[in-house]
Every structure is written in C-alpha cells, then in structure tokens.
C-alpha cells in the first residue's frame, strides 16, 4: 500500500483545487473528441503552474468512500494521469481495513461505462442542469404542490450522509408537508424492528468476529455480503490465522461463501430457518434455565435438529466468545431470536455491540415500503422527485412506481442511466458517479468518510446533495456544500486518511424487555406442492450494476453462473419437479408469473428456490437488457426477499446458462489438489539470485501462499485482478465457449452434503515450468527472481504452453478483445500493463508491474526494498487468505507461511515445483 500523498492534500487547502486540475483534464479530453457533450464548468478552471506530486505518469492515491445501501466503505483509488484506474480498500476505514469487495472494485467500470446518461433532459429535450431544474425551484414547487409542499414527494436511496441530512432538513423546513421516503432494495429494516421489540429502541448489531470462537449464522452470509462484511472477513481471517479454526455453524437456503467454510452447515428453506432460529433460542434458553423466553413448540427434521444440537452446544461452550448473526434479508422473528440468543449468551458487549443506525430517519415511517406505497397510490403527488436508483425496476410488484410517475404533474429523476425510471419521468438529470463527487458518507458503525472526486464529472453529472441544495435554491457545488455542511470531512487530514475521527456511533447499553416479548411461534409451513423462493442480492446487487460487464462475467461464487440469474434448486426438488439445468420454469404467484431457467446447486435447501435480484432489466439504457429474469412480479413489499407458495410449471423450453465450471466433483483427486501431503522443506530454488551483470531483479524470490481455510470464494480477487491487469470480458458467448480471460479462477468442489471448498487457481509460477520448454519461440521464460514470464510480443500463439500446463491457468486472446473498446473504455486501462493483442497467450504475472516498480524504487534509492509488495488479489482479499512476497526477504510473511505444516503444492507429484503454496483446510469438509 503506497503512502497517501500528502501533496495531494495541500491542494485542497490551496485555492487551486485538484478538482480544477481534473476538470481541466476532462476538458482536454473533450477537446480530444472523447465527448461531444456540452460541458458547463461550474467552477473556474486554472492549470497548474507546477503540477503537484512528481509529475505526469506518477500515480497518486486518494481516499474516498463508496456508499451502498446507505453504508459507506472507505476506499483508496489509484489515479494515473488524472484517470482513476484501480480501487482498493482503505486500511484506515473501519468497514474495509484495506479490503475491497467485488462491487466496490467493479464500480470503477461504471464510471467509464459509455452507456451512462450524458445530459439532462426534459420530456426528451436536452437541456442544461439549471434549465432542467427551472420548474423545480422552490417557488415553482410551492406553486405546484402547495405552499407547504404537500404535493412534493421525494424518494431517496437510504443514506447516512451528514451533508444529505443537513440539506434534507433544510428542504423540509422550506416545504414542511413534503414527504421523504427511503427506498430499500437489498436489505430491510427488520433488524431495527426486532431490536426495538427486544430493547425498546431500534439499534443495529455491530458484530466483532475477532473475538468469536463460535459463529452461528442463520440465513446470513456475514463474510461475503452486507455493509460490514469486509470487516467481518478481516476479523474472521485474523482470528482464524492466529487462534485456529473457528467453529462456524451456518443455516442457509442457498449455499453462500460463508457457508462454504462452515464446520456445521444446514440447508433449509426460509420458513424453516425461522423455526431453526426459534428452536436454537429455545434450546439455549432451556439450558440456561431462562424461563422468560417463551417459544411455541417447533417441529424440525432430524437434520435440522442435529444442526441445532451442535450449534447450541458450541454456543454454550463459548459464552461471551460466540456470536449469532442473521442476514440483512432475514425476517423479523429470526432477528429477534438472534438478538435474544446473543443476550442469553452474554455476547452483547463482547462480540456484539448495539449502535444506533447511521441511516437518516432509521426505524422511521419514511423507510417503510407500505407507507411509500400508500403515498404513491393516494394521487396527491404533484411533484415526484426520485434520486433512488431505478425504483421502477427494483420495486416489488405491489409498490408500483411507473403509474405515479406518469400521474405526477412534475416528475424528476436523478439517475445514472436512461433506465426504466427515466422512461416514465419528465425531467432526467444525470447522476454523478461517486468518483466524480464531493460529499460525505457514514459507515455501518457511524464513522464519517469524505467522498472526494478523482475526476471531473465526465458527463455533466451532479450529486444528490447538489440536487437537494438546488431544490432549496442553493446553487453551490458539492465541495462548497461539503465545506458548509460537514466541515470536519473537508479537512486536509480527513481527506488524506479517508475518515473523520471520533465519529463512531456510541454503543448503547441494552437490556432485554423480557416481559414485553410475545410468545414466539414459527411461521406456518407452506403448502406442499409449491416452493418458497428467496430473492438474494445477485452479483449485480439490486440491478444498479447490471450494465457492469465485470460483474456480469464474474462467476457466482457458488453456482459459477455468469451473465444470468437462474432459479437455484436443490437436487431433490429438481428431481421432484423433473427439471434439469437450463429447463425453463414458469413461476406463478397469484396471477403474476415469470419464467426463469432452473439451475441445480448441490447444497441448496429442498422445497425452495433462490432467484437473485438485479436481472431481467427490460428498460432502455443498459447493456444488460433482457439478461435473466426479473423478480419483481413475484415479490411483495411486505416480505420483499421471500415469497411462499410459488407454483412451478415446467414449460418445456430451454435456456442456455453460461456456467464456468462443468463439474463440482473433485473426481477423487483431493489428495493432489486440496489436501496435498505437507510440503517437505522447500527444495533449493532453481533460481539463485542475480547472475553478475544482470538486471538486478534476482535478489527476491517471489512466492505466494493461499489459505484454503480462509478462502470463501467471494471472488473479490478476481475483479481486483481484472482491474489491475486490463483483462477483457468475453461476453456470454465467450463464457459458453469456455474462453473467460480471468487470470484467477476460483475452482469450487462440493461434497455430497453441500459442503464446498474454494480454491483460487492462478499461474503457479512453477520453478520447473512445463509451459516453458514447449514454447517454440521462447515467449514464456523464467526470470531470475522466479517468475514465469510471458513475452507477449514474442508469442506466436501455438497454445502449446496451455496444453502442457497441468493447472490450465493460461488464457488465450482468441480474437481481438480490445477492438470494441471505445475511447472512454480505454481510459480505464492500467498504463503499467500491456493491453494484449489477438493471438497471444497471457496469464497471471504475480502483478509483475508492482514488483518491478518496487524494485526500481529500491534500486533508485540504492537501498533494499522496504515494506511488502502486494499483488492485486492479495490486496483485495477480505479474509487475508493470500500472502505474497519474497522467500528470501525475512520481512515478508510468505516464507513462514510456506513453511506452515498445512502448506502443500498442487499436483506436486508432477515435479513442477510451483511457487504457489496452498494451506490445506484444518478439517476436511467432505
């Protein structure tokens, strides 16, 4: 992690803001013909007399934050020549600790998406920002919607931004009768309802896995999804590394990354999960002798009962050092049971703290979908202002947005794309990407982070804050608003470090109001000839990333499905329905129907299915149009993430699903691949330092270890690698041809009971590399520091090397994948990495550009390298499963890690002497 550049900070203090500089760069891009749009510089633009930092071509790193579902994750963005090109986690930020998820990293591609909306329009006419907002000035709104703004309705994404809070409060003062609504798409407020019931006040559980010896997750994927998952994974990884295997009990519907690490896993339909949670609560309460917990009798299958037995025993053995977590989408009764369990086990205050939600109006009516539905349905809305991301698409069936938008006298939408919502609103304003925005956001635990732009708005976008200010007649820019509304986030120190100190939400002391609790009863079991369908967040979140090709092509951690969603079914249910992979099913609830292809997933709960959100976009303005099935017709606002009693009818049609892995079985090769014999002491390296008069790169001997006990398969590393190394996407057809270009693939092997193991597979940098001796033109050779190198411009493309690679980690440029890149797309490319042409082979380089940069720096300084060199995959890995470094450098952790008794080399018997060591799982799941 290179140090944040302090010169960059001084710019903020000086009047010449960096944004000016970036705006200038943007303008020069416009002159270069990149954009044909009319640009309105909102601030004066001056060139630097003396450019800050070292000069052109030097990379700079800036701290910023990305909010998703209202919660911020601190990021560090690398910028080269004024272009942000790589997103990493901010090590100082509590929600990241240096890790970055797939969504965060891929959001970079969204910045350069040529499909982004580029201009403000009113009824199809292109206008500029101020002209488009003319009919939304305060006087105009008062005239239209009453003096107190009774007819004004604002729909926002949930947000915790202090700037937005200030501006919204000011707008509410000006228009006291206007209603504000927060539209939730991925998580629900059920946890706040549950804690309100238990404690009397709505609080969020803040789980600390660094002290948890036993983790019980019910319908939750704490290590790979949710606003705090990176921190969970960081803490879990640190704990697992230092103490040993954490007891992880997971009950879930669809296999999740967390579930793949579970020592005790139960696959259960959503309604059964409620019963399981209550049964566990009942068991623990009885064992503790707490009579205040009243649970109605619960019937469980023997498997579920066994899971509850094991989980309860472990929990009771680890009072104060255990934690029970429920997912963001879990229903209220599960959250309540989990809250009570943590109280019974004295975990509160140890592994879980309760903090107020940082979201604006958390727990308030304004977050409830039924209130929003009523408001939209009452017909009294004359001015509808939407800044939520595409609610016309994301809203469930009984929360119709389209008709109210069309009914409103004036409707306005601030959006990233000309999408479904833009199609039904009169005025459209392009939304600035967060990498183009000034602002402030709060993390799940309340810590405030500044959001600072890396580039001037490419397509005249504006932020929600700027819109809210403009609505109340304030034409200031995002930076001015930040300085005015949240000055603490605009200080040089905050901008440099990406966090504002002492803004963490205080823990609340909690006591359970036992007497106020009702008798807890499990939900009725659904009708037998139907299935329950769960709607988890998909690889493209709620659909806001559906145009993001990196995410579309990122194989799902569990199903390895790309470019689609599918109804995931357990094998028993699939057999009962008589379907196999790709058979299209018609799913029917009441009179609403959708069609979706079936995909059988080992370890999925029976009598239920999972269909991820975010697909089936029908509107304009997205490359993802018509990909997958939309879930909206099946979902109801009252329970947006599960629908019971869904009828499945086999249509007889077929849909081709692009799944990157054909087999889940390890074919009896576990001993060679995932549980190899412990590596004997490393054989003497075949490469010994630098020969005299050579390039000087030989002092290091690069190697990597990957801990299979920590890899959840979350695939953040795959996106990190794609972004760092200019890896193209190949589209659904390419995936169907098995031509994905990912340098890192995550192999997944599943046992009979649904337990799975994920094995990241990348170039093993074999010391005795089979690829090298078969290349007829010496295009793949070995460096003195132990890298298997690929010389692109020497490669003629015989592909012999791939045939002889036992790990099959080499990727071939079958066609010219970069041909279709627009000039805007090209801005994304990492200038340190060659963009490969058609007909050449490529593969993982151990991020050789980073290694060489570090080595060159140390050579220039005339001193040995200080500090570690990290690869992109290692940097992003949330659990820290990947360790990289030089075997010869005592400061690098890799040598010690490779000497771990669990270390083995994949396919060691072939004698390839890989430089990648895997650490086998402590306990085999199969």
């Amino acid at each position: 992690m290179p140090p944040l550049n302090s010169d960059a900070v001084r710019q903020i203090a000086a009047d010449l803001s960096r944004r000016d500089f970036l705006a200038l760069l943007g303008a020069s891009m416009a002159l270069a013909g990149v954009t044909g749009c009319v640009r309105e510089p909102d601030e004066p633009v001056y060139p630097y007399v003396h450019p800050p930092d070292a000069g052109a071509g030097t990379d700079l790193h800036f701290a910023t934050a990305m909010a998703l579902d209202g919660y911020a994750t601190g990021l560090v963005v690398r910028s080269v020549g004024g272009r942000p090109i790589k997103i990493e986690g901010n090590p100082l930020h509590p929600a990241s600790h240096g890790a970055a998820g797939a969504l965060h990293q891929a959001s970079l591609l969204g910045l350069y998406d040529p499909a982004r909306a580029r201009a403000a329009t009113t009824n199809g006419r292109t206008l500029n920002w101020s002209a488009a907002l003319r009919s939304f000035s305060l006087p105009a709104l008062r005239q239209l919607a009453g003096q107190r703004g009774a007819g004004v309705c604002l729909v926002l994404d949930p947000t915790a931004s202090p700037v937005t809070a200030f501006l919204l409060a000011r707008l509410r003062t000006a228009l006291p009768d206007a209603t504000v609504h927060f539209h939730h798409t991925i998580e629900s407020a059920t946890v706040l309802d549950a804690t309100r019931m238990a404690f009397g006040q709505p609080l969020l559980p803040l789980v600390d896995l660094s002290n948890a010896a036993t983790i019980v997750a019910i319908g939750a994927d704490p290590l790979a999804s949710g606003p705090w998952h990176l921190r969970h994974a960081r803490d879990f990884g640190a704990r697992q590394r230092s103490i040993g295997r954490v007891q992880l009990h997971v009950a879930e519907t669809s296999p999740s990354p967390t579930g793949s690490l579970a020592s005790n896993r139960l696959a259960a339909a959503p309604s059964v999960l409620s019963s399981v949670a209550l049964a566990l609560l009942d068991r623990v309460a009885r064992q503790q002798g707490v009579a205040a917990v009243r649970v109605a009798p619960v019937t469980l299958t023997s498997m579920a009962a066994a899971w509850v037995d094991a989980a309860a025993a472990d929990l009771l053995a680890h009072r104060r050092a255990s934690v029970v977590v429920a997912g963001d989408q879990a229903p209220q009764d599960v959250h309540l049971a989990v809250t009570l369990l943590n109280a019974l086990l004295d975990n509160a205050g140890h592994t879980v703290r309760y903090v107020p939600s940082p979201l604006l109006d958390a727990g308030d009516r304004s977050h409830r979908a039924d209130v929003l539905a009523e408001r939209l349905g009452d017909g009294g809305t004359s001015a509808l202002i939407i800044t939520a991301s595409n609610p016309v698409y994301t809203a469930p069936f009984d929360l119709p947005f389209a008709a109210p938008c069309q009914r409103a006298t004036q409707s306005l939408y601030l959006g990233d794309y000309h999408d479904e919502t833009a199609a039904v609103t009169q005025t459209f304003l392009p939304h600035a990407h967060y990498l183009e925005s000034w602002g402030a956001e709060r993390a799940y635990n309340g810590v405030i982070s500044p959001v600072q732009p890396l580039i001037a708005p490419m397509w005249s976008g504006h932020t929600v804050d700027e819109l809210l200010a403009a609505l109340s007649g304030d034409a200031r820019s995002g930076l001015a608003l930040l300085k005015a509304c949240c000055p603490a986030a605009a200080t040089a120190d905050a901008l440099r470090r990406g966090i504002v100190d002492s803004t963490e939400a205080p823990s609340h002391a909690t006591t359970i109001r036992w007497s106020a609790l009702p008798v807890l009863a499990p939900p009725a079991l659904p009708r037998s000839h139907t299935i329950e369908v769960a709607f988890p967040a998909g690889g493209v979140h709620d659909g806001r990333f559906s145009g993001n090709a990196w995410l579309q092509e990122l194989p799902d951690p569990t199903t390895k499905l790309t470019w689609d969603n599918a109804l995931l079914l357990g094998s028993g249910t699939a057999a009962r329905l008589g379907v196999s992979n790709g058979d299209v099913l018609e799913l029917r609830v009441d009179r609403a129907t959708i069609t979706a292809p079936a995909l059988i997933v080992p370890g999925h709960a029976e009598d239920s299915g999972s269909l991820s959100l975010g697909y089936g976009r029908r509107g304009p303005g997205t490359r993802a149009r018509l990909i997958g099935a939309s879930t909206a017709p099946l979902r109801r606002a009252a329970s947006p993430f599960t629908t019971e009693s869904v009828q499945c009818v086999v249509t007889g049609q077929q849909h081709t699903l692009a799944v990157t892995q054909q087999h889940w079985s390890i074919a009896g090769r576990a001993s060679e691949l995932i549980a190899g014999a412990p590596a004997k002491a490393l054989p003497a390296p075949l490469y010994h330092g630098t020969p005299p008069g050579h390039d000087g790169f030989g002092a290091d001997q690069w190697a990597m270890t990957i801990d299979l006990d920590l890899c959840t398969g979350c695939s953040a590393c795959v996106v990190a690698c794609q972004a760092e190394n200019n890896i193209p996407v190949v589209g659904k057809t390419g995936v169907l041809h098995s031509r994905e270009m990912h340098w890192m693939r995550i192999a997944r092997y599943t046992g009979d009971n649904g337990n799975a193991i994920s094995q990241p597979m990348l170039c093993q940098h074999c010391e005795d590399a089979p690829c090298e001796y078969v290349c007829p033109v010496n295009a793949t050779v070995h460096s003195d520091d132990g890298l298997n190198e690929m010389v692109y411009n020497r490669c003629v493309g015989t592909r012999f090397c791939s045939n002889n690679c036992p790990y099959k980690v080499r990727r071939f440029n079958w066609v010219n994948y970069h041909e279709e890149m627009t000039p805007v797309d090209e801005l994304l490319n990492n200038p340190d990495v060659t963009v490969r042409a058609r007909g050449v082979m490529e593969k993982c380089t151990f991020c050789v550009q980073r290694l060489r940069t570090a080595q060159e720096r140390s050579a220039l300084a005339g001193a040995p390298r200080t500090g570690p060199v990290v690869t992109a995959c290692q940097q992003s890995c949330p659990t820290g499963a990947i360790i990289f470094g030089s075997l010869t450098n005592p400061d690098d952790a890799v040598a010690a890690s490779a000497a771990d008794p669990r270390a083995f080399r994949a396919l060691d018997s072939l004698g390839t002497r890989p430089r990648v060591h895997y650490l086998t799982r402590r306990k085999d799941p199969a």
Binding site: Q662, P776, R794, G797, R799, N803, W814, V815, G839
Partner: protein, 470 residues
C-alpha cells in the same frame, strides 16, 4: 500297395490343386503388356470425357469453402474456431496430424518398397506419391493457420535474427517445421524426378503444339539417352534413400508434439512407433480409396490388379494390427502403471467421457473393420475394400481427435474440465481440406500421367527378359 500309391497320387494332385489355387495371378494382366500400355496411360490426358468437368464441381466448391474458412480464421483469429481453454488444440492439429499421416503411405510405397525391390509398387507409386504431396499441402496449411499470429510463423525457423533470439530447440515444434519442410521437399523432388521421363513421353505424344510446349517445359529437355537414364536412376535411388528414413522420422517428430508434454493421454513413450504405424495405416486406407475408383474409371483393372489391392490390404491389416497393439499397450500400461490421472484419461474418460462416441467410432473403424481383411475374398473385392478403407480413413481421424481433444478436455484439475464443440469454420476447414485434396488429385489425374510408364515398361522389360533367359 496300389491303394497306397493311389492315395499318395491323390494327395499329390490335391496339393497341386491347392498350390494352383494359392498361386498368385500375375501382377499385371496380359492385356496391359506391350507398347499400347504407354498409350493407354497417356491418351486420357487429351481425350477427356465430358464427365470430367462435373467431377470438378464439388471439389471446387469445397475448396472455395476452404478458402473462405481460412479467410475468416485469418481475419478474425482462432476465435472463429471452437477451441477453448483447456482444449487449445482441436480440429486444426487433428487435421494436421491426420493429413501428414496419410502422406506417409505414398513415401512408403515409392521409397521403402523401391529399396526392397517390390515391383508391384510400380503400378501405384505415382498415384501414391501424388497423394502424399497433396496430403502434405493440406498438412502444411493447418500448423500455420492454427497460430494465433500466423504472420509470425517464420519465427519457428532458426535464422540469425537481429533480435538474437533463436527458436527453442527443447520444443518439438521447430523440429516439426524442419521435418515437414524436409518431407515436402523430398517428396516433391522424388515425385517429380520419377515423372520427368513420363512427361517427355507426354510431350512426344501430345496432339497440340501448346501441350507439347507445356509438357516440354516440365520434361526438362529429357531425351531418354542412356546417360540420362543412368543419372536418373542414381538420382531416383538416392532420393528413395533420403525419403525412406523420413517415413519413420516425420511422424515420430509429430508424435513428440504430444509425448514431450506431461498431459495424461499424450505423455507416452509409445507414441513415435504408434504414430508411424497409424500414419501408414491411414495412408494405405486412402491409397485404396483412390486406387479403386481410379482403376475403374480409366479401365485400368489390368494395370492395377486385384493383386495390388490384395497387397495393399495386407499392409493395411498389418499396420492395423500394429495400431491395435498400440491401443492395447496404451490402455494396459495406463492401468498397470497405476497413475490415477493416466487411468482416468486413457480408460475412464475414453469409456464414459464426453467423447465416448468418437472413441467408439475409432475402435470400431480401426480395430474391427480391418479384421475383415483376414479373408482373401474380401481383400480382392474392390467394393468391400473401398468401404473398409473409407471407414479406417475416418477412424484414423477419430483417433487423432480422441488423442488431442479428449485428453485435453479433461486433464488434471476437474474444475477446468470443458468440452469442445466445433464451429462452422472448423467443419468447413476439414471438409474444405478434403475438397482441396480432391481438386488437386483430379487435376493430377487429368494432366499428369497417373501411372509410371517408364517404370512399368522397365518392369516388363525385366520380366520378359527373365522369361527369355529363364
């Protein structure tokens, strides 16, 4: 006593009868003797029937398809094919190995059998050599076409480049280039050297001035002097001596493209002899596929007799048994060796893997079909032989496909397993190459003496001389 004498004489006459039955008919039937032999071979060059033109239609169309498919491959890249990771080699290399194998029979017949003094080769060596040459043309196309950047193919040739970078001689591919170019050069020279006297015959017999001039140019001023004949014979024998080791070496080197790797199904020391046997096997199959219609079309049943077919069929059976032995060896050793990857690749994957139907076709065509050739009657039945040869010819393509694609599609890491599906370009290149072969072969039949007149006449001279002196 008389009874015994009767019995003995009866036995003797039975033996004589049996001997008479077993006795081979002469290689060339009496009708093909004499001066009109040359005429019969030469005349079709300028008395073509109208049917000729129609014969060219399909090969021309297929060649057009070949050109289009090559164009698409060159413009778009290998992406136009069905190849993927892990199956980075598929139809392209399958076709290459198959065609180059087919080429082997020609050289075997013309050079090997010449050195072994097998006179029966004289009727068919010209056809077989032409087949070799045209098969090599096809075989040469694929390795270049299959490169990601075919315009840089010359980097495989060792030449003192300004970059100072030489090919990697540890890889088998630069050796491949050397082997194939050598083989093509020697085959072309051998074929052409044998052809020169016949071209002179054609020049002398040609009805028009233009034809005389054209054949005259290619006849290189051959006058048929004793001196020229002596030099010709030396040259021909030398080339035969050069070509003979190539029969063994070329496919041995091609087989190293596979056996130097560590891929289960490729990594095998048996490959060089196995590939050579398979090559001659497929080559003889194709020789038969060509001889049978040609002798019928030209009415050359007395020049290329059933005895020739029989001899070819025997070689087909012999090489078929060698191939069968190799299959057996390969499978047994995979089991006996105990390596789980080998066992999976050579036993499980072939028996129940995604390409089991190709494997079944390969086994049926290459192992079962040749067993028909144990029967002399079937060996001498042109129709049966033609069908059997065609099946073996196709079966050998399946064998190349099985070795290459089935092994690659499922190797060490199960998560990487994928299947290969050919694209239209793949199929067009295969059928197109067959079309190009047919086109070249038809052109050869149409404009070049298809049977070696000089060698036939020399053979007749020798045999009649033997008869006189015998």
């Amino acid at each position: 006593m008389t009874a015994l004498a009767d019995v003995l004489s009866q036995r003797a006459s039975e033996r004589a009868q049996a001997r008479a039955q077993l006795a081979e008919p002469p290689l060339i039937l009496p009708g093909a003797r004499g001066a009109d032999l040359a005429l019969r071979i030469i005349t079709p060059l300028w008395t073509a029937r109208r049917a000729w033109r129609f014969l060219f239609i399909v090969p021309l169309l297929l060649t057009g398809l070949f050109v289009v498919a090559m164009g698409v491959t060159l413009v778009q890249g290998i992406g136009a094919w069905g190849n993927n990771i892990p199956v980075a080699w598929a139809f392209g290399i399958t076709n290459f190995v198959w065609w180059i194998g087919i080429g082997h029979a020609g050289t075997f017949i013309s050079a090997f059998l010449l050195l072994l003094n097998q006179e029966w080769r004289n009727s068919i060596n010209r056809l077989a050599e032409a087949m070799t040459l045209f098969a090599l043309v096809n075989a040469g196309v694929f390795p270049i076409l299959h490169l990601g950047r075919p315009w840089l193919a010359y980097w495989l040739i060792p030449y003192p480049a300004t970059t100072g970078v030489w090919p990697n001689f540890l890889s088998s591919l630069p050796w491949d280039v050397a082997a194939i170019t050598t083989y093509f050069t020697v085959s072309l020279l051998f074929w052409y050297t044998g052809l020169v006297p016949d071209l002179a015959t054609a020049r002398d017999a040609a009805p028009t001035r233009l034809r005389r001039q054209i054949y005259g140019i290619f006849a290189l001023g051959w006058r048929g002097s004793g001196d020229a004949w002596r030099q010709h014979r030396i040259m021909y024998a030398l080339l035969a001596g050069l070509a003979t080791p190539l029969v063994i070496s070329v496919h041995s080197i091609v087989s190293l493209d596979f056996s130097i790797t560590q891929l289960p199904g490729w990594h095998s020391t048996i490959f060089p002899p196995f590939f050579v046997a398979g090559a001659i096997y497929s080559g003889f199959a194709m020789v038969l596929m060509l001889l049978i219609p040609v002798r019928r079309f030209f009415g050359w049943e007395d020049i290329i007799t059933e005895r020739h077919l029989d001899l070819c069929a025997r070689l087909l059976l012999t090489t078929g048994l060698m191939v069968a032995y190799s299959y057996l060896c390969e499978t047994f050793l995979a089991w006996y060796g105990g390596d789980p990857f080998e066992r999976y690749a050579l036993i499980t994957n072939r028996a129940v893997g995604p390409y089991r139907w190709v494997v079944a076709a390969m086994m049926g065509c290459n192992l079962l079909v040749p067993q028909l050739l144990w029967w002399r009657r079937l060996r001498r039945s042109p129709l049966t032989l033609f069908i059997a040869a065609t099946l073996i010819w196709a079966g050998m393509w399946c064998e190349r496909f099985t070795i290459i694609v089935a092994s690659l599609s499922r190797d060490f890491v199960p998560a990487n397993w994928q299947t290969f599906h050919p694209s239209w370009v793949d199929i067009s290149l295969l059928t197109g190459s067959i079309g190009l072969f047919a086109l070249l072969f038809l052109a050869f039949l149409r404009w070049v003496p298809a049977v070696s007149i000089s060698e036939m006449q020399a053979q007749q001279a020798r045999s009649s001389g033997d008869a006189r002196h015998g």
